[in-house]
Subunit: 138 residues, 2 copies
């Protein structure tokens, strides 16, 4: 790496948890991740943030559903500006569990998937860590 | 789910591998994923597509580097239109290996990370599967 030209590149700074949760709430789409015996799987869903946890809805008879039943899982959101070569990302790590929709009494707190189909299974990822980084423009 | 209102939602269609690779090549940022003993980790990087594999550069003394040495890994790219509630996503699953930069002879094929710092380690994810979906507007 040329050390002089490196200075024209952006600088990564850590985000605190409050900023991470605000950024998470600012997005309507993120990526749920789980591990199967072939490694990580990362798939976009529409989320809500409810009581500090991430909630989303998926089809009950799916690979994802089978792997999000009291298992480690992550949720990732980000946004980038290709012109300024900058952006941010947030990663929630924790445990995924099934949620009874009766535990999501407020309509606005219920996830609203964009795709049609029987996405009747509510999943909650309860965070153990929430970390994030912002890439400041160079 | 109200079956009538469900029809106003978007429809998911599978993408073929050629489309997936074109979409992967169309983006400058994606998300590398690996599994540690706490579950999946998903972090954005800047990629290149070289001979059908995904290549990116990371700091050599990092958690990510420790987990991408001949281990299962994934790479994910997507794009969404919040207004039309539509978009697409592509997931490359495979094995991550370290690459000698001499094996990336063409300058345009070398990944160019946006953040400054010693990102001297080239990682290649050689695909075992490449899958993708497009969410058509409702």
């Amino acid at each position: 790496v040329d050390e002089l030209s490196d200075l024209f590149l952006g600088r990564l700074v850590e985000l605190d948890e409050t900023e991470c949760i605000e950024l998470l709430q600012s997005r309507r789409v993120g990526r749920a991740a789980y591990c199967d015996d072939q490694g990580p799987v990362v798939l976009p869903v529409n989320h809500q943030v409810v009581d500090g946890a991430v909630v989303f809805r998926i089809p009950p008879y799916s690979e994802m559903a089978a792997h999000l039943n009291d298992r480690p899982a992550s949720y990732q959101v980000d946004d980038f500006d290709e012109f300024r070569e900058s952006g941010w990302s947030v990663l929630v790590r924790g445990t995924a569990t099934y949620v009874d929709p009766d535990h999501l009494p407020i309509q606005e707190q219920r996830p609203a998937p964009w795709p049609r189909g029987q996405r009747t299974l509510n999943i909650r990822i309860t965070p153990t860590t929430i970390t994030g980084r912002r890439l400041l423009p160079g």
